[in-house]
Amino acid sequence: MKKVFALALGILTAIGGFVDIGDLVTNALVGSRFGMSLAWVTVLGVGGICVFAEMSGRVVALSGRATFDIVRERLGPRVGLVNLIGSMAVTLLTYVAEIGGIALALELGTSVWEFFWIPFIAALVWFVLWRAKFDLIENVFGILGLALIVFAVALWQLGPDWASLWQQASTAAKPTNEAWPSYWYYAVGLFGAAMTPYEVFFFSSGGVEDGWTAESLPTMRGNVLIGFPLGGLLSLSIAATATVVLLPASIQVDTLAQVALPVTVALGKLGFAFALLGFFAATFGAACETGLSVGYSICQYFGWQWGKFVRPRQAARFHLVILLSTVLAAAVLLTTVDPILVTEFSVVFSAIALPLTYLPILIVANDRQYMGERTNGRFANALGTGYLVIVLVASIAAIPLMIWTKMGTT
């Protein structure tokens, strides 16, 4: 019974914790411009995150060590440093975007200027990361994030032409007024949003925090293979509501209020309140995850004590790294940079950094020294290699597409 409860809780938090500011903005933006024609990218991205999260979860369960703890040992300090710098730059950018996302959600509920909230939010995020227990952070925001199911309810309430939505999704035909370079630019962005590097840092280090062993493998697989795809359905619901309400009205998403507008149209004030709660939980949960990920990765590389499973005093450097990155994120946002713009940059730069994150996982998951008999099988390797090729193509194409399309504006 305890195992069933753990599995159910894990799946629920995986669903609620799947969506972050990058998913919210990118899915709504893509739905409002391209309809459901890019739904295949979300499906592809969710498949990718499932493949690599399962691999990194397996590494943790069998070796008792986080994947990136092993990367430096297995690939050497130089390769490890390249991996650390690339991934950390993107994770910090995502951290900035998530804290900005919380500010936008609060502004939407209060009409108080977003920049006023930033110092308070940064302090609160840091306090939660310092004081709150790991499973509390993981479960509370994951469960509250389930409020985003309101997008699926809104879609059903809007009564869309399901055949038309399916036709757009299955034929991947872009609207005639949109150009192909922009289509591919947003495809890369959507892929980056679905496979954000911090997700595997957090998942892998979180496994150590939760004390996973070989016996935890079925629960871990349940979380990944059921929770993540259901979380992906939330992403698709956000895109679909934007397709039904915003696309016909020629509304292009550049604010969080526009992301919630279809829910307001469908369900009124109550629906909006749920959407707002979902935005807050999703961005706050993701801010905690990215903040912890920065601390995890830096401390694992330098071999410092890390984690929430020890008292803050025993992992002082870990908490100092989190504090400094939180101050940096707040400072960036206080320059009055638009958090939505930061989000757009973060998903594209995520796509660029993807190979740095996923290649080491594939290498470690094939290493008998750490994995014993449970190294990747042929199927897992075929999937992993296939995804690595896609990740590489997305990474190479991201910058040229960003320049060519002027960040998707042409």
Binding site: A249, S250, I251, Q252, T255, T410
Partner: protein, 160 residues
Amino acid sequence: MRAAHEPGPVSWRRRAWVTSVACAGVLAVSGCVPASPGPSTYEDKAKLTVEAALSEVATVQLTLQQLARDRAFKPSVLTQLRYSEDSLDTATGAFDELNPPRTDDRLHQRTDSLLSAAGDALAHTRIAVERDERQEYPALVSDLKKLATRLDTLDKQVGS
């Protein structure tokens, strides 16, 4: 042994430095001069600006419609209005900086007049919402709808 007049490594470095500064200067100065695009570029910019304005007007119309039916919270509507006005100002400002080609004078006038009407409509809406003038909402929604139709028509004409 090098001849006295032959440029040494230091003078090459100096020349490279002066060239870089000159290039940066030219780029900076050219960035300050209002752009004078050709007809095709100008029409593309006009189309993008009209699309941005249409997006903001349609957003405000839909949002106000929900508020009029008591299906939206005032703080969130005010927040959206603030963002829409800011976005419209940015788009209008960028377009106004362009010098229209002679052949596009009519497009310039039409776009300018619609952008100005959009700015006025959003400002009126903000004031009405701030003052809670609910009786004004239906007329404002209707005005925004008409404006959105005009912007959409211009967008299609520029694109064709």
